[in-house]
Each structure stands twice: as C-alpha cells, then as structure tokens.
Amino acid sequence: MSDPEGPIQSDRSADAVVTTATWVRRGAVAAISIPALILTAAFVGYAGLARESGLSLTETLMMVAFIWALPSTVLLTGAISSGMGLLPAAIAVALASVRLMPMTMSLMPVIKEPGKTRTWQLLLVSHFVAVTAWVHAMKHLPELPRPARLPFFLGFGIALTSFVFCMTGIAYFLVERLPDFVAGTLVLLTPVYFLCSLWGAARLSADRVSLIAGLVCGPIFFVLTPGLDLLWAGLVGGSIAYAVTRVARRGLA
C-alpha cells in the first residue's frame, strides 16, 4: 500500500476499501471458534430459562441483541418475571455490568488509530465488548496492523452475536423445558469458561494476580456490600493486584 510506484490515487482508496472488508471478513471467520460454541451452549441454557420465566421469543431475542452480556441478561429476566420496578431493575443491571467500562477502556488504546478512528465507530463496536470478544481482542488484536483492528473486531462481534442470536432463537423453539439437570450444568458453563479464558488471555502477571484477587474479593464483598459487591471486588481486588505487581516490577519507587 505504501509502494511509491503503486496505482493512482483512486485505485489506492479502492484497495483500502477492499482491505477493510477483508479484515471484517477475517474477524467474522475468527469468531467461528470453540469459545463461540461454549458461549452458544450457555445461551441455549438461557433460552430455556427465558421460556420458563414467561418471556416471549421477541423479548428473549431482544435481550440477547440489546444487552449482549449473559449475566445481565439473566438478571433482567429474573427482574421482569418477578415484576420488579423499572428503576430497581435498571440499578441492579447497571451494577452487574460495571465491568464493561474498564473492559472497554482497556480495549480503546489497542483498537483505535489515533487521529483517524471516529468516536461513533468506537461507540458502535463497543456494543460487542463482552468477555468472549474482549478476551480474543486483547490477545490477538495487538498482532494485527493498526488499520485492521477495528474492522476485524467489528466482523468478530457481528458474526458472534448473530450466530448466538440465531441459536438462542432456535433453542427457544425446540426446547420447551430443559430438564433441571441440563439447565443446571449449562449455568455452570459461564463461570468456568470465563475463568479459563481469562487465565489463558493473561499477558501480564498483573492480569493473573487480579484474577485471583477478584475471585477472593467477590464473595467477601457479596457479604459486606450486597448489591455493590462486584464494583468493590473490582476496585479493591484490582487495585491490590496492581499495587502488588507494581512493587514486584519496580520496587517501592
């Protein structure tokens, strides 16, 4: 592309367009993966829960597409079926989704091309930030050329979300009621899958220490500050992990 004897200007921009589309497609292909299948299985479990909770197919699929974060989806399903008010439900969902902010924040310097990427593009792709896409992005995007990263992530996000969306819809139709046994095992999929993929994605020792600190802090703050537990577990656990690994890296300077 930087070939000085390359084609004339118009051809060059056409080349850039093709390249972007190619990266979107490669992102979509990369989404076809084992993690996508595990996530799909977890959402099949969710389809059973949604149907049992009295949600219609439209409502179920809207939840999948608009929220795109399984734990918050499960939480809101419980809130709707138990007739919880709008404000308490919104607060509960918001508190359970706080993690998406630092996740998105840490993705930004990786995904954007300084001076070129528009804010609306980032806002658009930010909807796909959830554990599966984030883990994949933090691990693999740094290996790609900078202009490829945003389109790749977009392709990955669209493919993953559409696939899970369709499979959730099919599961809703096919499965009238999951046997307790199957429903239960599908619920355990999410935490174990998160745990393994997060550990596998860790690049710094700080990532691993944070994971352990968060695992320990979660139940502690669940008892101390119910409702705000995840927020505190993240802030306290993450800060302790940061402090410990920083001292290990640089001493007490």
Partner: protein
Amino acid sequence: MEELARESWWWPYVMILLAGWVATDIWRWLGVFAGGRLREDGELLVWVRCVATALVAGLISKLILFPQGVLAETPMWLRLAAALFGFAVFLTVKQRVIIGVLAAEIFLITGWILIDGGAGTFS
C-alpha cells in the same frame, strides 16, 4: 403510573430497552470516552486492566457460589470443587479451554448423580 404501565403489552420492551440496553451499554459508552486518553504503554492502563479482570473474576466466583435457578439446589462445595477441578485440568492440558470446561461439567454431573442417587435427577 408505573403500576398501570406494567399491565400493558409494551412494558417488557420498556424494561428491556431502559433497564437492559441503556443500563449495560452506558458502561461501554463511558468506557469509550474514558479510554480515549489512555496510552497503550501507560501505567493507568495496567490498573484499568487489573480492575476489569478483577470485576469479571468477582462475577465468576459469584456465579459459582451463588448461582441462579436450579444450579442453586446443588451443594456449594460441589460447584466449587467442579470449577476447581475444571481449572486444574485446564492448566494441565496446555490451557485448552474446552477441556477445562468439559472436565468441570463431568465433575458436576457425576457429583450431582451420586448425591441425588439418580432419583429425580432427570425429571
């Protein structure tokens, strides 16, 4: 007023859009704006990553220890042991996520059947 609205057909959609979509995506949007000034090699980014990871980790232990639905009927020690077993297997098989997840599931299912004595498990 909300009491009246709750009876109508469109109420679940209002809940999904406001208490679902806005309540989740607001964090992603805030993340875009707050992350805009972060440097890729900065210390602040390391701290943000730590907080993000610890938040997901807090969620992981919450989902294992205090799950929703039928899984809550299994003893806590069984869920914890199943998750730890899955993670241990994951570490020993060159970190293949699918193997770790399957190991945890097999552990859970076996334990569940043994505890239940098979009775009622498949009902």
